[in-house]
């Protein structure tokens, strides 16, 4: 019996047991155990073939129907634009009324309120409005500008667009 160095508290006992295993036993053991536990494999090919082709459309449709915030645009596109156009027509009439009758500085306040009202009424949130909605609004204001040719309206228009206007257009308005 050889004397042990590392074995706890046992000084005269052999270190090894003499047990052996067949060659390559542990290499095969892993596979044999894996076969027995039969883990259901997670296979990506289980997905329908067209899954990833349709995925973008499905995501877009979900984001369209999903509620992003408290403000929801429930109308279809053309109804919405018709409503905005009608609101702008009311706005124009209101503006004409105030500018022809009072001509005071309160006109713009009223106009602002009208704009805010129609934005609120039709749930147009400037933070989330689409580019086409903004372009439509801009076009409508351009139309008002053409009809009214009013200094006050120019000022109002410039308040919103002075940074966007090309130099030649700006000069034209200032004249």
């Amino acid at each position: 019996m050889k004397k042990k160095d590392n074995r706890p508290d046992a000084d005269i006992l052999p270190e090894r047991t003499g047990y052996q295993v067949p060659n390559g036993y542990f290499d095969k053991l892993t596979d044999r155990i894996m076969d027995q536990v039969d883990i259901p494999t997670y296979n990506e090919t289980d997905l329908p073939e067209s899954y990833f082709e349709n995925l973008p459309d499905r995501i877009i449709s979900l984001t369209k129907t999903e509620v992003p915030s408290n403000r929801v645009v429930k109308m279809s596109g053309w109804k919405k634009y018709m409503s905005i156009a009608a609101s702008l027509a009311i706005f124009i009439m209101g503006y004409n009324y105030f500018s022809s009758n009072t001509g005071s500085d309160t006109d713009m306040v009223v106009s602002d309120e009208l704009i805010l009202q129609y934005l609120d009424e039709y749930d147009v949130d400037l933070e989330t409005a689409t580019l086409s909605e903004l372009e439509f609004i801009q076009n409508e204001f351009n139309m008002i500008d053409a009809i009214e040719d009013s200094d006050e309206l120019y000022e109002y228009y410039l308040d919103y667009h002075i940074d966007d206007l090309p130099a030649n257009e700006l000069e034209e308005i200032i004249k």
């Binding site: 005269i12 006992l13 003499g18 894996m34 997670y42």
Partner: protein, 192 residues
């Protein structure tokens, strides 16, 4: 082959990572394969020292890992993974030993039977000292045998043994002390 098993576990992911992998359906297969590869040798040698025959150890190691797979989702992570694995392996080994005893009245001639068995075993290359050691351990009570193997061969700390056997550290120290004395006495008697 190292009898103490593959203790160089550093090449494998940490136990916490392995558990998370096994519990995730996407990585379950790879995670469990890594877990088996990490612990199969360590557990096999622990089992082999209790059941002696390679064929029995082979059965027990497979049953152990099947139980591990089935019960891992219930593992509460309050103890170390490897002590939990040892506990399952130990219980499975004792179950097999008890079944064998019931079937063959094993206790009556266990020492002689084990001696003959080791002589005939193709997967045992021990000499007289190793055979005598196996016989000395075999005469210990079941739990004392496990305590001796875990401490002497696997050099497991008493704290970890306490998790494996759900026994206090003090009781384990006493049990190991008695086991060593009995084994030494058995060998001295056999040599004299």
């Amino acid at each position: 082959m190292k009898e103490s098993g593959n203790k160089d576990h550093k090449e494998y992911p940490e136990d916490e990572v392995l558990i998370d992998m096994v519990l995730d359906p996407v990585s379950c297969d790879a995670g469990f394969r890594l877990l088996v590869m990490k612990y199969q040798e360590t557990l096999y040698w622990h089992i082999r020292k209790l059941v002696h025959r390679h064929e029995d150890a082979d059965d027990v190691i497979q049953n152990t890992f099947i139980k591990v797979y089935k019960n891992l989702k219930n593992f509460k992570r309050e103890s170390k993974l490897y002590t939990w694995l040892y506990r399952i392996a130990t219980n499975e080994s004792i179950t097999l030993i008890n079944d064998r005893k019931r079937r063959a009245s094993y206790e009556d001639g266990q020492a002689n039977e084990l001696k003959d068995q080791l002589k005939a075993d193709n997967y045992f290359d021990g000499g007289e000292a190793e055979t005598m050691m196996a016989l000395a351990i075999e005469q210990l009570p079941e739990k004392q045998k496990v305590v001796f193997n875990l401490r002497y061969y696997d050099e497991m700390s008493y704290n970890d043994m306490s998790e494996v056997l759900e026994t206090s550290v003090g009781a384990l120290k006493a049990s190991y002390h008695h086991a060593v004395k009995k084994v030494e006495q058995y060998i001295k008697n056999a040599m004299s």
